[in-house]
Symmetry: C2
Subunit: 192 residues, 2 copies
């Protein structure tokens, strides 16, 4: 299943949950910008610190910068011209989400013990070398579905369901509502 | 939060989990077929029985028919020219997934007691009337992210993580692997 200790100096976050970065491989600019944007938004909303995007796409990075400006936090999309370089320069164990992998339920105890993780999701065509490069190849069910769905479920299992609290620096924040849409907007000139 | 009993004659499945159908509202054909296809694939992989698609899109329905042919099960995409008609003709309580809704963690106990549910996800523009028509408006975090991710997490919470077992009638089935891609293909002429 892969090593249980990362051997790095990384520390988990305050609640003992693994720190997570995501790597999205095989993005096809112009082909499906919304799908990759959804991967990034899920990574952000479920507590990942950043997403490396291979190949890079300024449009996606700008969308997420706009989300950060409005909704706060520090999540960013970082360009990854080479996915192999991301793996080489990362000390974190690598979890590759793939329908061919071992069931998530069985991998979870080991994953939860890690201090940090690099979660890799591919698109329609996954580079074959990725399977051997990963510490863990993990599936969320053995049916074809969506990297967006698989990532959300994995992150919810590792970091818990995201809650209603706004992120630091948010200019807009939602007030959860049973029936409507309640958003509080920071006053102009009120600083951060 | 909404009524706890559906008052219908529906029965939950053998394990006492709610039966689920999904309604995808606001699909824009030609604009983003892959996103709606991912919603359908997640609905299928995480145990929903069918997805109503509004407005209808034969291309998406055909994609899912191809997945069913290869990977088994009975999940289908059904055309929904009117989303209001789907709600009117459904006896199931309606769960609308929206970032403006009440946090999922608080709604889960009531949702898990339901025998059946109709889960509604919208796209970029959600019809305002949907909020009032829903039994529950529920959020998976109060950040903008993805209907694909929200649906996957909700279904995993209601029906458990999908496992590695193939569905009835599958012609292809994956053998979970730590390192590679192992698929068993039914022999031609071997029936189902």
């Amino acid at each position: 299943m892969g090593t249980g200790s990362s051997g790095s100096a990384a520390t988990p976050d305050r609640r003992g949950r693994p720190r997570i970065r995501v790597l999205r491989v095989g993005h096809r600019a112009g082909r499906d910008p919304r799908l990759t944007t959804h991967v990034a938004l899920v990574a952000r909303a479920f507590g990942a610190e950043a997403m490396y995007l291979h190949p890079p796409d300024d449009g996606v990075a700008r969308s997420l910068a706009g989300v950060r400006e409005r909704w706060g936090g520090t999540f960013e999309v970082l360009p990854a011209p080479s996915w192999k370089d991301v793996l080489r320069s990362s000390s974190a164990p690598v979890v590759h989400l793939t329908m061919y992998g071992l069931p998530l339920a069985r991998a979870l105890p080991a994953l939860r013990r890690e201090r940090e993780l690099l979660v890799v999701v591919g698109g329609a065509k996954v580079p074959p070398a990725l399977y051997g490069a990963a510490t863990y190849n993990v599936s969320v069910g053995s049916q074809p579905h969506s990297e967006v769905g698989a990532l959300a479920v994995l992150l919810a299992e590792l970091r818990g369901l995201p809650g209603p609290r706004p992120l630091p620096g948010a200019r807009h924040r939602i007030v959860p509502s049973a029936r409507g849409k309640a958003v509080v907007v920071a006053r102009a000139g009120s600083g951060r």
